[in-house]
């Protein structure tokens, strides 16, 4: 089976204020289908840079990254993915349903599929009643949920979540956990970066820990973390020089 994410020798550097910044150094990572994969690291480790390269927001200096075997430089590589960021950034002048329709059209889905999936996702996220309300009137939690629905409009094989629980209340966190569990049950792959180690420990099959742009640990949580030790403790030991 083709790996949803295949990163080989990825290096990203760019000019910073005090010279060249090495954001990522020779990162090699493969995410198998159906895995819930946690991408961890302290601030400045290179997590966001990796996601940005995978999503086409910026180019790698060297190395390759592929999504489902397709080079990430091709926009078609993003056909099977869904992405949700920490911030519920969306168009305030659209209604929830219009946002989902727009997202579906950008994936070139047929109208009937968009209609069906939108209704289903609005129900799943508890936004059916607010579907025809402008997003400007939504609360932060509702905006987070409509962004989640938008990320799922194409029923993605790979869901990429950037700090999905950051800034969420306990109910919001529960929703995200439930979402990840549902995707896993459906055999889909979830790749997420997070600082919330307890969430990661609960949800992930495998983790990768990044520090200063380098991969310092990778594997199943049960193998990496010694018995009787928490992921948090292991993480702190791993990233502390």
């Amino acid at each position: 089976m083709i790996a949803p994410i295949d990163i080989q020798d990825l290096t990203v550097s760019f000019p910073g204020r005090t010279g060249i910044v090495q954001a990522l150094q020779n990162l090699t990572l493969t995410v198998a289908p159906g895995t819930v994969y946690g991408f961890l690291g302290p601030n400045g480790a290179g997590k966001t840079t990796t996601l940005q390269v995978l999503l086409g927001f910026q180019e790698a200096t060297s190395g390759t990254a592929r999504l489902f075997g397709c080079p990430i430089t091709h926009s078609i590589a993003r056909e099977k993915i869904g992405y949700m960021s920490e911030n519920p950034d969306t168009y305030p002048f659209l209604t929830g349903r219009e946002l989902l329709t727009m997202a579906g059209r950008l994936f070139n889905l047929p109208s009937s599929v968009i209609q069906k999936r939108s209704t289903q996702l609005l129900e799943e996220t508890g936004l059916s009643e607010a579907a025809n309300q402008r997003i400007a009137l939504y609360s932060r939690g509702m905006r987070q949920r409509i962004c989640m629905a938008q990320a799922l409009i194409n029923d993605p094989e790979l869901l990429i979540l950037d700090e999905p629980t950051g800034g969420l209340d306990p109910l919001g966190r529960r929703d995200i956990r439930a979402l990840i569990a549902r995707r896993k049950a459906a055999g889909k792959t979830v790749f997420f970066s997070s600082h919330e180690l307890s969430e990661v420990e609960l949800a992930c099959d495998r983790i990768a820990i990044l520090s200063k742009g380098r991969l310092i640990a990778e594997g199943p949580v049960s193998t990496l973390v010694p018995p009787g030790e928490s992921l948090e403790r292991f993480f702190i030991k791993a990233v502390t020089p």
Binding site: F14, V21, A23, N43, G44, A45, G46, T48, T49, Q52, L55, G56, F57, Q58, E59, S75, I76, A77, R78, E79, I81, Y83, M84, S85, N87, D89, T90, Y91, F93, L94, E98, M102, A103, R105, L106, F107, N108, R134, C147, Q150, A151, I160, G213
Partner: protein, 262 residues
């Protein structure tokens, strides 16, 4: 094409819900009402005066709308953070640019049609009328000029921040409209470097004066030759394509980061 139309549709929805168009139409109606209430030159000259000033207002309002709409599209996506979920979809950056340009141009074109319609009503209230074919040519050429303005606005917004791009687009389009037609007369008696510089400016900047049929409309000179109109439209299409290509070149490898880059 579906993606381009979807992105253009979002521009339409935003413009309609921001109520910019209504403000524009209210402004035009107020200006026309003011013009209609004047009777400066006696009855005979009034319709021509309304035509002249009304057409000037249409050009000014459409110009302002085209620049403000086009220039904000890409920087606003980035500022609002909506660019990221957009680029995470199978949408190429060229598609994004084309969708934004089409949206900005088509909504400006729609506003233009409404403005001309309002003007026609105003002129008819004073007993005047426009020659239909000349009016059609004027509207088509005006819309083509606005496509060019939108392309310029979008191109500059890929290289500058929104405010800088807005000011530069205003300055470049105004300078091109006002100064370029005067360059041939300025070339008389000028030699050397100055001559080369003026020639370069003359051929580098878009010639908006070619799209302006206001005098034909005001003085009822009749239609322009269709071959000339076609030639100007081809010029507009080529220049718009060139500008959008430049926009793409400036945008295709641009690094977008949200928050902390690391």
């Amino acid at each position: 094409m579906n993606q381009i139309l979807t992105l253009a549709g979002v521009v339409w929805l935003e413009m309609i819900r921001r109520k910019d168009l209504y403000v524009l139409l209210i402004l035009m109606t107020t200006l026309l009402a003011g013009l209609l209430s004047f009777d400066i030159f006696g009855l005979a000259g009034v319709a021509g005066y309304v035509k002249d000033m009304g057409l000037l207002s249409v050009w000014l309002l459409a110009w302002i709308l085209a620049i403000n709409t086009s220039v904000r599209q890409l920087p606003q996506e980035e500022q609002r953070g909506t660019l990221f979920p957009l680029l995470a979809k199978p949408v190429s950056r060229l598609t994004l640019i084309l969708g934004k340009w089409l949206g900005a141009w088509s909504i400006t074109g729609f506003a233009l049609a409404c403005l001309y319609l309002t003007l026609c009503l105003g002129v008819s209230l004073k007993g005047g009328r426009f020659d239909v074919m000349t009016l059609l040519q004027a509207v088509v050429l005006h819309a083509a000029a606005l496509g060019l303005v939108c392309a310029l606005g979008i191109t500059l917004s890929t290289r500058m921040n929104r405010d800088a791009a807005t000011v530069t687009t205003y300055v470049v389009t105004a300078a091109a409209f006002i100064l370029l037609p005067r360059i041939p007369s300025m070339l008389v008696g000028v030699g050397g470097m100055m001559n080369t510089a003026l020639y370069t400016l003359y051929y580098l900047f878009p010639h908006f004066e070619l799209f302006d049929l206001r005098r034909r409309l005001v003085h009822d000179w009749g239609c322009a030759p269709w071959s000339t109109v076609t030639g100007i439209l081809v010029y507009a299409v080529l220049l718009t394509m060139a500008l959008l290509s430049l926009a793409w070149l400036g945008y295709r490898k641009r690094r977008f980061s949200r928050g902390d880059i690391l």
